[in-house]
C-alpha cells in the first residue's frame, strides 16, 4: 500500500506562471514589437485626434495591440511549445491541462494590461489625449474583454493548424488583414459595404466597446449589442479552438 501527496492547485499554478513569465521576459524583443506597432500608429495618428476624437484613435490602437497579442503572441508560443513537446512533458507530470493553459492565458492577460497602459501613457504624452479616470478604468477592463476574442481566435488557429511555421504565417496574415481592413474600413476608405461589415467584425465590435468604455457617456444600446457580439465571438472561437486543439503536433 502506498500514499501519494499532491501539491495544491495554487502551488502548481504559481510555479507554472513563474516559468511562463520568465519565458515571456526572455522573449521580450517579441513582446516589445507587440507593443511597438500600436504605439507607432498612435503617435503617427496624432493629426486625427482633433477630427475623430481621442477615444477613436486610442481605441483603434488598443485593438491593434490586442490583435497582435492574441494572434501572434499567444498562438505562436502555444504552437512552438506543442511542437517541441513542452506541453507533453508538463502533461506527464501531475499538472492538470487547465492549469497549464490558465498560466499561459494569465501571461497574455498581463500583456494586454501592459500594452493598454503603455498606450494610455503614450496617448496622453504624445497625442494629448486625456480621458476621465472612469474612462481609463473602463477602457482597461473592456480591453481585457476584447483581448479574449483574439486569444480565442488564436486558439482556433492553433487548433486548426499544427505546424508552427504555418501558424506563424497564418497569424501574420490574419493580423495584417484585421488591421488593414479594420482600420481603413472604419475610416470609410474601402467603401460603405466593407465599412458596415467591419462594424460587426471582431475588430469592429472590440474597437467600438473599447472606444465607448473610454468615454462612458457615449456607451449606448449599440455598445451593449457590440459587447454581446464580442462575447459571442469569444464563446464560439473558444469552443471551436478547444474542440479542435490537440496537445501533440504529431
Amino acid at each position: 500500500m502506498s500514499t501519494t501527496t499532491l501539491p495544491s492547485t495554487y502551488t502548481v499554478f504559481s510555479h507554472l506562471l513563474r516559468a511562463d513569465l520568465t519565458t515571456q521576459w526572455r522573449n521580450r524583443r517579441a513582446s516589445l514589437l507587440v507593443v511597438l506597432v500600436p504605439t507607432i500608429i498612435l503617435i503617427s495618428w496624432k493629426g486625427l485626434v482633433p477630427k475623430f476624437g481621442g477615444a477613436f484613435v486610442l481605441s483603434n490602437c488598443i485593438t491593434v495591440g490586442l490583435t497582435a497579442i492574441g494572434l501572434m503572441g499567444y498562438s505562436n508560443t502555444v504552437a512552438r511549445d506543442r511542437d517541441k513537446g513542452i506541453f507533453q512533458r508538463l502533461r506527464v507530470a501531475p499538472a492538470s491541462n487547465w492549469t497549464i493553459m490558465a498560466s499561459r492565458l494569465t501571461v497574455q492577460l498581463m500583456m494586454i494590461v501592459i500594452t493598454t497602459l503603455v498606450l494610455f501613457l503614450v496617448g496622453y504624452k504624445f497625442d494629448g489625449i486625456t480621458i476621465s479616470a472612469g474612462g481609463y478604468f473602463g477602457g482597461l477592463l473592456i480591453a481585457i474583454v476584447g483581448g479574449a476574442v483574439y486569444l480565442s481566435l488564436g486558439q482556433v488557429i492553433v487548433g486548426l493548424i499544427k505546424n508552427p511555421e504555418t501558424v506563424n504565417v497564418t497569424t501574420r496574415l490574419v493580423y495584417f488583414a484585421f488591421i488593414m481592413i479594420g482600420m481603413f474600413g472604419e475610416l470609410g476608405v474601402l467603401g460603405k459595404e466593407v465599412g458596415d461589415a467591419v462594424k460587426w467584425s471582431p475588430y469592429g465590435t472590440v474597437k467600438h466597446i473599447v472606444s465607448a468604455a473610454l468615454t462612458p457617456s457615449t456607451w449606448n444600446e449599440h455598445s451593449w449589442m457590440a459587447l454581446l457580439v464580442t462575447l459571442g465571438y469569444t464563446f464560439v472561437f473558444a469552443f471551436l479552438g478547444i474542440k479542435w486543439f490537440r496537445w501533440n503536433s504529431r
Partner: protein, 265 residues
C-alpha cells in the same frame, strides 16, 4: 497540499497493465496487452517500429485514452486517479522538451513545484553537482548539449523519487561515456527499489540490463520473460536459428526470429 490518497490496491507492483486496447480511428495499435513491473525491476518493452510500444507507453503516461483495459501505477488507476498516478511515475520521453529559455535551475524549481518537492538552493546544487551539471546551473536549456539535456531530463524524471520510471529509448543519440553513465544511474535506481519500464532498440543493452523483457509486435505481446529464458525457450525455433549469425543465440536473434526480418516503416 491536497489530501493524500492512499491507494486501495494492496499489491506491491509498481505498474499493472491489464487487457489494454488502443485504437487510432479504426486501426488497432495495441491488442489486449497485459504485463506488470515489480519494484526493483528493469522491464524492457521491445518491438519493431510501429509495433505498439509508444502507444502502450503513452497510455501508461496518460497521454492517450485507451479504448479498454486497466492501468494502475503504484496502485492508482490512470483513469480514476490520473494526477496521483502521474505523481507516482517519472517519465523520460524522446519527443519532449523543456522551455529552451529557462535555465537548468529554473526547470528544476518548476518541476519540483509541480511534484510538490521542496528543494533548497544547496540541495539543487548538490543534485547538479552529482550529475556534473553544476557549472551549467544558470545555462538555458536550449544552450545545453544533447548529453546534458538528457541528464536534465533524467533528473526531472526522478526528482520526486517515483515508484515507476518510464524511459523511451533513453540511450538514443548518446556517446558511449554518457550511455555508460546513464545505465549506471538506472541500475542505481533499480537498487533503490524503483521499477523501470523502458523501450530500446539496442538488444545488447536490453539483454545486459533488463530483468524481464516483453516483445511486442502488431500491437500484441508475443513473448515475455527474462532475457535468458527467452533465449533458452526459443533456442530450437527454426526462425531464430536462421536469424543467428554467430552460432551463439542472442536476444537479437530471438527478437528477429519472432518479429521477422522485414524492415518496418
Amino acid at each position: 497540499m491536497n489530501d493524500p490518497i492512499t491507494n486501495t490496491n494492496h499489491t506491491s507492483l509498481v505498474l499493472e497493465v491489464e487487457g489494454l486496447n488502443v485504437y487510432y480511428g479504426a486501426f488497432q495499435a495495441v491488442r489486449n496487452v497485459s504485463f506488470n513491473v515489480r519494484p526493483g525491476e528493469i522491464f524492457g518493452l521491445l518491438g519493431p517500429n510501429g509495433a505498439g510500444k509508444t502507444s502502450t507507453l503513452s497510455a501508461v503516461e496518460g497521454l492517450l485514452k485507451p479504448h479498454s483495459g486497466t492501468i494502475r501505477v503504484a496502485g492508482y488507476s490512470t483513469r480514476e486517479q490520473p494526477l496521483y498516478a502521474r505523481a507516482s511515475m517519472g517519465v523520460q520521453l524522446q519527443a519532449t522538451s523543456f522551455q529552451p529559455e529557462l535555465t537548468v535551475s529554473e526547470i528544476i524549481r518548476l518541476y519540483a513545484g509541480i511534484y510538490g518537492v521542496s528543494l533548497s538552493k544547496e540541495r539543487i546544487d548538490g543534485i547538479l553537482s552529482n550529475i556534473k551539471l553544476l557549472d551549467a546551473a544558470n545555462k538555458r536549456y536550449g544552450q545545453l548539449s544533447g548529453g546534458q539535456q538528457q541528464r536534465v531530463s533524467l533528473l526531472i524524471a526522478t526528482i520526486h523519487e517515483p515508484r515507476l520510471l518510464l524511459m523511451d529509448e533513453p540511450t538514443t543519440g548518446l556517446d558511449p561515456q554518457s550511455r555508460r553513465q546513464l545505465w549506471e544511474r538506472i541500475e542505481a535506481m533499480r537498487e533503490k527499489g524503483h521499477g523501470i519500464l523502458l523501450t530500446t532498440h539496442s538488444m545488447e543493452e536490453a539483454e545486459s540490463v533488463c530483468d524481464r523483457i516483453a516483445i511486442i509486435d502488431h500491437g500484441t505481446i508475443i513473448a515475455i520473460d527474462t532475457p535468458q529464458a527467452l533465449i533458452d525457450t526459443n533456442r530450437g525455433n527454426p526462425e531464430v536459428i536462421r536469424a543467428s549469425r554467430k552460432g551463439k543465440i542472442t536476444l537479437e536473434d530471438v527478437f528477429i526470429g519472432l518479429t521477422g526480418t522485414e524492415i518496418r516503416s
